[in-house]
Symmetry: C2
Subunit: 196 residues, 2 copies
DNA sequence: CGTGAAAGGCATTAGCC
DNA sequence: GGCTAATGCCTTTCACG
């Protein structure tokens, strides 16, 4: 399994800065041909490193409501359910689940709905406490650092190294530290899918 | 000053989902010609609604460290300074400042640096309390809702309506509720620029 | 993994309504 | 503002190393 090299990182950095920059342009910067860049972008997409291409929209110009940041302390084991319920809400943009059963999210909601917008989306059985804060400003700096490719094994959670394998299940890439983890995962995956 | 119509919103929505989708494709969806879509995208860029095009990178696959979410309670009036100091840190991706002197940020830091990475970037005189949490997972759903275009006047802060004006200063768009606000702002801008 | 050449698709311009 | 037609660029495919 291949990781990322400096060229991959440079391509990512250039695309982060401007995702519509022509590949031929990028090719020149990284000393490759345009098809080579195209191939690498494809590979990064297959790997799941590139999830997609988007627009950076300045939401501060689009008053569809008030930006809020919500902190939710979940009942033990219920943070995942809360995250799933909220991620699908149209007004919600970011959802962060932290290891300590806390879910933090940002959303833009109509002024009048600030106190109540969670009511219809949250099962309060799952919630210990929550807090809605008004967002004053937001910064987003899509950087990369010296990022290296080192996914977690989907089965056991260990870091996957060069020995690892990738499987594509229903179009999504999964990584495994070894063949037996892969086999175990795929088997369970198939079973769950059959049941559904 | 023109705002956003349904077609603009639909274009934004389509681009949010896939910024490389061909304009001819988008054109078909919104019942326009490709050049018309191109013109609208240009206009949205000039307005500052579209800040740029980027890649959605899955940072959970790029272990340059551990994803953390940090909550900082600032001393009164110091939240802005904290935000500015942290926004420039390479490892930091999102910074949210809420109205109650709280700064919430996400970052990816080397395992060993989790407890200490803030030390070099934070003036602890400004901090009442802070908390570093490990992020288990992240969701990002760039949605739009029924977003309408209503920027704040750069001079007085009031919402700008159709009567408002746009000025472009050094390539960046600024909005004003009226001509006198614009004049005042531009004058101050020029002065500050001369001094620098 | 990479290249260069060719083909096909796409954004953009120009002229017009 | 929008359209159609035409131009020129960009991505992608292909054959090859």
């Amino acid at each position: 399994m291949r990781g990322l090299d400096d060229t991959d990182r440079e391509i990512l950095r250039l695309l982060l800065a401007d995702a519509r920059r022509p590949f031929s342009d990028i090719a020149e910067q990284v000393d490759l041909s345009a098809p080579a860049v195209s191939d690498r972008v494809d590979r990064l997409s297959e790997m799941g490193v590139i999830r997609g291409f988007t627009v950076d929209v300045d939401r501060s110009l689009l008053h569809s409501g008030v930006p809020v940041l919500v902190e939710i302390d979940a009942e033990p084991g219920r943070a995942g359910a809360i995250r799933d319920a909220l991620a699908d809400v149209e007004a919600v943009e970011h959802v962060f689940r932290t290891a300590d059963s806390r879910v933090t999210l940002t959303a833009t909601v109509p002024q009048s709905a600030v106190p109540s917008f969670l009511d219809s989306h949250l099962d309060f059985e799952d919630v210990q406490r929550y807090d809605v804060r008004l967002v004053a400003d937001t910064e987003w700096t899509p950087g990369l650092g010296t990022a290296d490719f080192a996914p977690d094994c989907a089965e056991c959670g260990n870091t996957v190294d060069e020995e690892g394998v990738r499987s594509t299940l229903d179009g999504d890439p999964y990584y495994f530290c070894c063949g037996s983890c892969e086999a175990r995962f795929v088997e369970q995956y198939e079973t769950l899918k059959e049941e559904a």
